[in-house]
Symmetry: C2
Subunit: 251 residues, 2 copies
């Protein structure tokens, strides 16, 4: 009998979030599952790590084809710990999410969901982040589970190129109008600080403006048109077209 | 009389680190300087933000051509606060560092130094991160200041393309053998957890392996050959070659 694929799951909303529980159920259709997720919310954790204090790992639950651990660290710490201390072999897939809030356009840079995906990718695990454009804690993930399973199955079967991972975002709609493969849209966050009652203390908030709202083929355009957006990301942030221009600085 | 350029400075080692103080002195040769930096170490902060609690900003010092603020948040928070609440106009340059420890290859994904640079870039500020390959708290930055000033002057004069920023790394040598414009090297971090005396608690550590040690034109190769490495980075993490292959997922 062929071994079931080994699937590692994490997120940045913490182990109790609805999104990761929905995702875990979904992945149990596809393989043997290990969950290592933060023991609380780590929104905006990006690729941050915990270098200064120890990180704890705790087995929370053991069921058929399922191990669930909580971790005191960031989403990236979860992946690092899972990879080195938990999984019995190289995972066949890492999925992160389903995040409550989209991680399209430049927002992915702040995202702990995507931080975990980037970390998985660094460890040569085919890795996918799933996020839903919503502000609700309780949401209906049902309309997106078919795409979650389809994309995960596709990656299990076909793999991903070295150093490439996927960022999948869903609009909050009762039924998707389609699935679009797209690039990151350009955008900007503004009006990011709200004054508090304490002078000199500010609360992070902000408005996102899509700088190319009419450009088909971008992730925001897809979401704005009720479609799922699949964006391949690379670990290599080098901007190759500038290498030549900068040569005047070379000595 | 022409206005002096406005230069925003931050880092992830905190306001008291030697690197940011050296960098500040250096930038005072080039313009009017505003420093907004964390009030303590934020190593490994990446692009993380502080969404859940207020962030405080405090004026620490005011001198000729120099304002210095401390901030309770992450390096990215520092840039966001500086941009919206501190600087009188769009800065002409953002510099971050000089980091104690290199941020070459994939390590840049974890770096708060580079997180701040990415944030500056999102705000359309020409932005540069400077990092020194060292583990010492006290180091000799003198051999690198000419390159710091040259690269900063070049960017002040020529700007950078939209959504592109620079990651500059120095080897710890008494004299640089050159300056190289390069791409990110491929690498992997392994053996990342040291057991502590507490069962289930692990301390982050790790060994970096350069997966292409002999490839000239990569940042690690330059550092290994006693040269400064200048790498242009893009905000757009889309891996364009995969867009076509993934089309089979499109609906």
């Amino acid at each position: 009998m062929q071994k079931r694929p080994l699937i590692l799951i994490t997120n940045d909303d913490g182990l109790d979030a609805q999104g990761i529980n929905v995702l875990t159920k979904c992945m149990l259709n596809l393989g043997q599952v290990v969950v290592v997720a933060p023991n609380g919310a780590r929104s905006g954790a990006a690729c941050s790590i915990t270098p200064l204090v120890p990180v704890t790992l705790k087995l929370e639950r053991e069921e058929e084809n399922l191990l669930v651990y909580s971790c005191s660290g960031t989403p990236v710490d979860c992946v690092k710990l899972a990879w080195e201390k938990v999984v019995p072999r190289q995972p066949d897939l890492l999925v992160s999410g389903i995040n409550h809030g989209d991680n399209a356009s430049i927002s992915l840079h702040y995202s702990g969901t995507i931080g975990a995906v980037i970390e998985g990718c660094m460890k040569s695990i085919p890795s996918i982040g799933f996020s839903l454009r919503t502000h609700k804690q309780e949401c209906d993930f049902q309309p997106f589970l078919k795409v979650v399973e389809d994309v995960s199955s596709w990656v299990l079967k076909n793999g991903l190129p070295q150093d490439v991972c996927l960022n999948v975002n869903f609009p909050e709609v009762p039924a998707l109008k389609g699935v679009s493969v797209c690039r990151m849209a350009r955008g900007i966050w503004q009006s990011e600080w709200k004054e508090t009652e304490v002078p000199g203390a500010y609360q992070l908030t902000g408005n996102y403006t899509n700088l190319e709202p009419d450009v088909e083929g971008t992730d925001y355009w897809a979401l704005d048109h009720d479609m799922a957006a699949i964006t391949p990301l690379t670990l290599d942030m080098t901007y190759y077209p500038s290498l030549d221009i900068l040569k005047s600085l070379q000595k």
